[in-house]
Symmetry: C2
Subunit: 186 residues, 2 copies
Amino acid sequence: MTLILGIDPGSRKTGFGIINAAGTNGSKLEYVTSGIIRLPTGELPERLKVIFDSVSEIIREHNPLEMAVEEVFFARDPRAALKLGQARGAAIVAGVTAGLAVAEYAARSVKQSVVGSGAAKKEQVQHMVKHLLKLPSTPAEDAADGLAVALCHAQTMRTATSIGGQLRYSKGRLKQVAKTNTVLES
Amino acid sequence: MTLILGIDPGSRKTGFGIINAAGTNGSKLEYVTSGIIRLPTGELPERLKVIFDSVSEIIREHNPLEMAVEEVFFARDPRAALKLGQARGAAIVAGVTAGLAVAEYAARSVKQSVVGSGAAKKEQVQHMVKHLLKLPSTPAEDAADGLAVALCHAQTMRTATSIGGQLRYSKGRLKQVAKTNTVLES
């Protein structure tokens, strides 16, 4: 079993989800937990501390081995991009300082992996996350995005292993594997 | 004495400087250390970890009480803003998790405070940092920027105290104080 923590960072709220890639080759996917870290209003340092502390606590509680973070595409507003970057930085640092291998996946790759289309809508992602993890109800948008990137990571790892077992699991190469996977899928 | 750590975050290198605001009311400013954290090429999570670990180590070694971070203005490129935000997030999280009060200062306020003009050039900042801290030689650009934001913070704290001692030193209000200070100066 491999617990995977998926993170969808945002400057107002950060979605997270943990799945268990169980069974041979991680082919059986189980829901573990998910939720949303809502940031308080107020000064930036405190807000970033909430992200860092919350992600650290989730890691301590569930002890996942790997972390997958959505790579964001955003509008033309550099100010929004800066804010998002800060939130992302805080979340990623929580992962790497806890010793997790952290992989990044483009939003397009996540949708491609979970829904089968890189242009899928939010609702389709929610629907497929519910379906794939056999959830009794549809998860909230940000939580679903956290679960989706964890699912994308699980699938990428499985594909990478099954296409020849060449995968050396290192942080430096995970991203490359993800890209290769996207190509293989299309 | 109050040790202040100034940080000028960047996605390729992050400048830092520590000063000691000694004497009555922190009016005597002394150089403690400064330098540049150069980020390795490679994957983002590792790069952010280098920032977090380096800033954490600087804090452990020198034990500053307060941290001041330059607020950046940037070009129209959201991608560059995202990268910068990530670096900033990693640096700020290192400060808040170590228990430091973290204040932010706009680049303009830093220049205004150190050089006397919000539109000052990089060289002027380097020159004034050298002068104010009685350094034997001009510090490198990023290190000078780290020292400059620390100097700006020291001056803001001093002004805030001397205009009536009303300053409650809390993270939530520091920024406001900085803004007030800029108004007072102009």
